[in-house]
Subunit: 351 residues, 4 copies
């Protein structure tokens, strides 16, 4: 992250989520409806719990945009938590409001609870779970929407889709699979794929390990909460070299390919084909079926705490991954083409 840089903040039940983005060129048209539609996409998907209905996230911009155009100055985004009123006391900033209400102390396996409580020296695990919650991905999607607005100016478009839920592959019966799992009080993960089209050749590089766009994308996707595996293009297990590599042809004087096992990346660089990156999400760790665990206070064995949760959030996760890939692409575009305003970027890009 060099030119498109940002920080995000916000607890799951805090007043709001926030982000500041520094590095968006001046003159970019900011379509708030588009940003809100991206937030809505994150909230959809079969298998989500009730909180999604409460939320209906919308973004407010409090700096960096004037009359619908970016100024080049840092952009502040705020997504309010709509049910903050009922959490105001429990999540208060003020020292005098201290309370044990909604404190909890049962390490949930698969969550940040245990390691987080050790690292940050916390007894009330709420002090860990509030930030380790996937709620924070809402503001990440908002940041991604800015990156997507930038990419759209250059004709670059992204999309994502779920390709597997539990044991059900591809276009098969995802909803049925989810219903079965819900019936058991369990949760289920799955796999999704993000695709970006119309990319230029040469984003990323082979010259130094940390310049490889494959590595940067893998970081962005693997660090999404609950992601345990990332693939670029076709998983090569079981292929021979003669089967896997995408041969190169000339058609109408242009370099072309008939396959895209590489997922659009060779040598750590985009090669002009579609960028294809997949992620595998583990089952959500909070579920009705109890897991054995330990109480942080008593150090006695107990069963994991249940908070309202989703059965399956792979679709949301795909939207988050799509947003995060946009971050990296926007940054790589800005590094390669420069430009302090959108016209300068486009001029350099289209030459």
């Amino acid at each position: 992250m060099n030119k498109f840089r940002f920080l995000t903040a916000g607890e799951s039940h805090g007043k709001c989520l926030s982000a500041i983005i520094e590095g968006v060129p001046a003159g970019l048209s900011i379509d708030i409806n588009f940003i809100n539609s991206e937030l809505a996409r994150r909230q959809q998907g079969y298998g989500r719990g009730d909180r999604m209905k409460i939320e209906q996230d919308t973004v407010e911009i409090t700096s960096g945009v004037r009359f619908g155009k970016s100024l080049g100055s840092p952009i502040t985004l705020v997504v309010k938590n709509r049910d903050f009123e009922s959490w105001q006391k429990v999540m208060s900033v003020a020292p005098e409001d201290i309370t044990d209400e909604r404190a909890f102390s049962t390490f949930r396996p698969g969550h940040a609870d245990f390691a987080g409580s050790v690292k940050y020296n916390q007894k009330d695990l709420r002090n860990v779970l509030e930030r380790s919650s996937a709620r924070k991905t809402a503001i990440e999607v908002a940041v991604g929407a800015f990156a997507k607005l930038l990419l759209k100016e250059l004709g670059i478009e992204g999309s994502s889709k779920v390709t597997q839920i539990g044991s059900a592959c591809c276009a098969q019966n995802f909803e049925g699979e989810i219903d079965v799992i819900r019936g058991k009080g369990d949760t289920v993960g799955g796999k999704f794929t993000v695709t970006y089209t119309n990319l230029p050749v040469g984003l990323g590089s082979y010259v130094h390990w940390d310049r490889g766009i494959d590595g940067r994308l893998a970081q962005a996707v693997m660090s999404i909460p609950a992601i345990k595996a990332v693939e670029i293009g076709t998983n090569p297990l079981g292929y021979c070299g003669s089967q896997y590599h995408d041969e190169i042809f000339i058609e109408d004087g242009k370099i072309t390919r008939h396959s895209n096992n590489a997922g659009g990346i060779e040598g750590g660089m985009t090669n002009g084909q579609d960028l294809v990156i997949s992620g595998v999400m583990k089952p959500i760790p909070t579920m009705k079926t109890s897991l054995k665990t330990v109480d942080a206070q008593t150090l006695e064995e107990t069963e994991a705490h249940f908070e309202r949760s989703d059965v399956c959030a792979v679709e949301a996760c795909a939207v988050v991954a799509e947003a995060r890939v946009a971050w990296i692409l926007a940054d790589e575009i800005l590094l390669k083409y420069g430009g302090d305003c959108i016209d300068e970027l486009k001029r350099n890009y289209y030459q």
Copy 2:
């Protein structure tokens, strides 16, 4: 990369590979034999070509170490190319030595050739392949050896193993598989796993996306040449939540687990279990079986250029991944525990 930072350099057939590491605490014992033994591990593995025999890499340290101890100042590593003499003219720095000898212009599918030539505006593809070659991983392993020396001071140890070659899984007949593939003039990839033991709880964080150690590790492994997939712990596809998550128990007053599907990472942090990360390598793109491609000069269709190559390099790749994981762990350790000299680090660590 914040405290343990470095740059590497060097072309495949250039005079030498180099690295400068900044951030190693003072007072670390530098065992050159250990570093050389790591370099030797990278050169082993069934399926490698002849170059490995030429190389016999050894490291020279030209700064930052005195009387066997790090000084705290930047450490320079040099790995000479043993066959440089025969490449001296072709790889000359001097403008007057310019020659077409060993120039080549056929884009090899699966390599950086095409995108690299566009990005860096190169007609002689040697100007791309010399740096995009996996040769550069030799110096990366040397850098990793420094990180491993640091980790060893804290009792942290790493290892790696190949778990699949082509269609042959686990402890099965890797060598047979490789022989079959070699007989066909083809190449084959595979899967490997890196494990680090005795890690502290709380390396990495959930508080911001780029602080997650899972993401940083994924970047380090995915950006190794030819890696297309990365997994942390057990791939969760097909598991329900009640099966996947590692339950928590108390034994002798200590938190313990009976499984490690999480691969030692929950919430983007190490949780005290073994760190387990796997990578999938694609088949080496340079092979005797020709692939259809295009000539960079004539833009006519042709067949891919053959350079001396390996049939299978998964074992080497595992060693590189093990080294790269060490980079990230060393940096995370230094960020978490501070310390300008090894005694200060150890004192903070063991408290």
Copy 3:
């Protein structure tokens, strides 16, 4: 900026200024009154205009703090602009609100107007001046207050004072000087000194140019709007070596000095003496006395636009510098001593 990192945002007449700080250890007591008192210090000083009375800045924390303690997660700060109501229309985010009201087009010499309009391709110079205004230093002081809270835990204290206004040195008649200048419709700059006491030995380093704390401090002070010169310790012009360097003595078994020309820094590191850094501020470029300039639209010569302004803001500038020095010190402390929570930091620090 590695461990204590942040972004700030906000236009001078926008809805609010914001900042997100990532890297504050968990468990730090957050005293809002202290933060507000720092904001108040920035607004004081003889020679300020009327806006200071309107502002009465106070901070709101919307994330990262619960019951008066930092959580380790990113902290969001918001300072509302109290007169936003009257600017709401002119500073609107919405494209449909576009208006020429309060647009202006006269490049003010000494300001960002000219270069900013070229860089960001802006015709309405308000799109430049709103962010290039020194108003943004209010939120920087709030960020600095967090750094100071951290430093206070370790007994490190900072202060600042004005040492020269125009031609009046030291404890002389600053107010008289300012009154004279105001009478002429002119502006005046001056010099200030920031001092931090009780620092540990060894913050910063000589091992690499960008590790030197002198350089980092110089960046932080020189990039304050209107600062043109920075000094560490005593300006050495006119001293011989035998006069300048601070001799070293032993008193009660402890290393001590009788002078501090070095300003507490030798070899790019703190040496245990007081850190002393000075800045020189130029006269504020907006003044009643007109300056010749050019109109951005017509490219005809004209006279510089006058906006409500201060005659002298050196005292405010000193407070900003004090805050910025705190940023750097907090980051260096965290890099050197590690610690994810305040107890761990203190344990490592006091050993």
Copy 4:
């Protein structure tokens, strides 16, 4: 440092100094004679000691350049120490060579000795002084020469000059001043100015504190060993606003100025005028006249150790500053204009 990034390494009496530069666009013509002439400039100047004669530094390039052109891959520079033979044993990397020869333990006031020995836990102060020595600026000048080659492609040229030595200002009798000081066995500092011409408008920014080019330049100059003060343009002390700010005129349809007190920077950005930055160097701390100090081993008072040294090194320091300013300018140019090869950079730049 974002796009033009590098690390340097090397002890004063070690085998060699090294640097690796990552981020130089491909296709840049590398003139080794120019680099060596920059190294020679650093070694000149009245008042230098004998070591300068021994050194006659020249650079070797071992990666990243082929047939006189940069490849886009990292460039390795090596400057050998010509008198290494006589230091080989004392500076040996090997643990078995350990010796007390040339060890020393007297903290020299004004040097890194005291703080460095505490920070890195060193008893033999040679382990500190070898890296804290200004010798390392030789390789920094070599890195700067690469940056200058890049800037030259865009017509940007730099120079530097000494403006004061001790009490002798400007074109006055520097050599006489130095001779007097030498006669006393003392040392003397001075002031220098670096100027770059033909810069574009808009390098740097006001949008975030760390984007200001004034701050980045101040860091680069202040962190040079022995620098204690930095000024951009004219020191404003004593000027009123109406006198200081550079009025703007139109001549032949072009924005122009008749003064340059701002030193080419307004609002943290280049404004198209000459960039002017000055530094003040303290007297060299190693001198024949003894300073009172303490022995690191015995903690008894003693007098500072004398090593062969210069009387005055301001001219060398100016060359180092000129090189460091080139680093920052090259990085800012690459950030603003992008470009992976020199043709792409130039096309974007000249539009």
